[in-house]
């Protein structure tokens, strides 16, 4: 049996975080989660995920700060990041592009099945 692909979900909103965890686990991924950016970095360093789903507006450490911290780590900087947020606006999208995020997704505009399709595409499953 091949090892499951690992995904870390970093989001402070419990309902959103749990929905993502449930959906991704149900689709056969090994999912870990964190409730803010600071905890997210710890989980990432322990779990070594293949993909990170990252919210932007979070307490302790926001998504932009997490992206910057990830970039400083030789290993973590190679992990693709999908930004999942309810912030929109050209300025945020271009910031995400600058920070080399893989995708920028506005939660309110996106169905779960589209997120799942995006994750599968990136992980090649």
């Amino acid at each position: 049996m091949t090892e499951l692909k690992r995904i870390t979900v970093i989001d402070d909103e419990p309902a959103i975080r749990e929905a993502l965890v449930e959906m991704l686990s149900g689709a056969g991924f090994d999912v870990s989660s964190a409730v803010n950016g600071k905890e997210g970095l710890v989980v990432v360093s322990q779990q070594h995920p293949d993909l990170i789903l990252l919210d932007i507006m979070m307490p302790e450490m926001n998504g932009w700060q997490v992206l910057e911290a990830l970039k400083k780590d030789d290993w973590a900087k190679k992990v693709p990041v999908i930004i999942l947020t309810n912030l929109d606006g050209v300025e945020n999208v271009s910031k995400a592009v600058e920070q080399e995020a893989y995708e920028y997704v506005v939660k309110g505009d996106t169905d779960m099945k589209d997120i799942l399709a995006m994750v599968k595409r990136r992980l090649g499953v």
């Binding site: 959103i16 449930e22 309810n86 912030l87 606006g89 309110g108 779960m112 099945k113």
Partner: protein, 438 residues
Amino acid sequence: MKSFLARFSIALFAVLVGIGVSFVAAEYIRDTFISLQLNPEAGVRWYETLIQALQWSAAIISGLIGGFIYLSLGFKTEARSAGTALVKNVVISQGQFRTLYDLGPIPYFLVTPDGAIGEPNKAMLRICKGMLPEIEGKELASFFVPDDKEKWKDLWHKFGRKVAISDQELRVVPLTGGERYVLLSIFTIDSGPKKGWGLGTFVDITERKEIDRAKTEFVSLAAHQLRTPISTIKWYTEMLTAEAATLPDAQKKHLERIQEGARNMNELVHTLLNVSRLEMGTLPIALEQTDIAALATNILEELAPEIQTKGLLIKTDFNAQSISTDPKLLRIVMQNLVSNAVKYTPEKGPVSVRVKSSGRGIVMEVEDTGLGIPKEEQPKIFSKMYRAENAKKMVAGGNGLGLYMSKAITGILGGTISFVSEENKGTTFTLTVPSKTS
């Protein structure tokens, strides 16, 4: 008047002296003739006439000299007083200008040919947060943030080729730290000892920038807070729907209704966000080359489910060039016009969507065969939250923001929007959009 008296007295004196001298001279000449003993009588009378003629001409010449003195003295005085007044005025206005320069609220400074600051005024010292000796002679470039140095270099290079710098946004770092947003202008001085130097101004726009940023942040935050619960409703309903195979049909329908409600609410957040950004003037415009026909096709594809449900007959004629515009904004307008046509045309009715090139822009026409807009309501349909009475009866939903927003966005894109409508026959909206360069 004082000068008139003086001039007149000098002139009179000159005439009297002239006459006196001529009489004395005449007496002398007569005495000489007499002493020469050249009589007889007739001879003497002849000399008398000659002497009288001499005296008269001497008097006339003296008069002329006096007049000349009078006038020339007058001219000189007038010239002198006019000159004095001019100099006085220049000195006064120079003083006034100097005061304005020194104490005016706008930072002024000179720029030497090698880019150093000269004669900074008080406002300039205030914005740079330094004393005169700390600012004067310092390189202007040293006050810009590192990110703006390239831009400054480019502007300075152009200025060297006689291109004035006008209202260029740059960030200035005061000596005590921090950052101010300014609009920089530099004009060339064309004459005088400082020919070739620049006269520079900064307009401090930091506060304006901060207010804009606060507005944008507030709206983004509000939208974010509204969308979070919407996403939760959407996603959990989606999960429930996926598990709903075992549910009775009635409950599946209820789930669909919740989904639809969440979708509509999300749309509304988008619309309100756009309206707020529009009204606050913080809606960013990103121009790019846009294929109008592809955009129109895409909008129709998106509306396909509703078009199919109503069995509408869609006629299209797309024959337009691509133009430079903001595709996201234009899409909102085009989407609005087409979806209104779809919404308000009764089942099986025809709707035409035409796009063609016009000059350097495009014209889009959306013709429906719907309700039409009652004549007395036509002037109001672009107003915020306005919905025509007959439209409210036909379609209950609708926020009355669509046309209001479309008109405002069209304005931003430099275009126009108009319509022709007849009640119970239909409405044709005409949208023109130019190719925008900046």
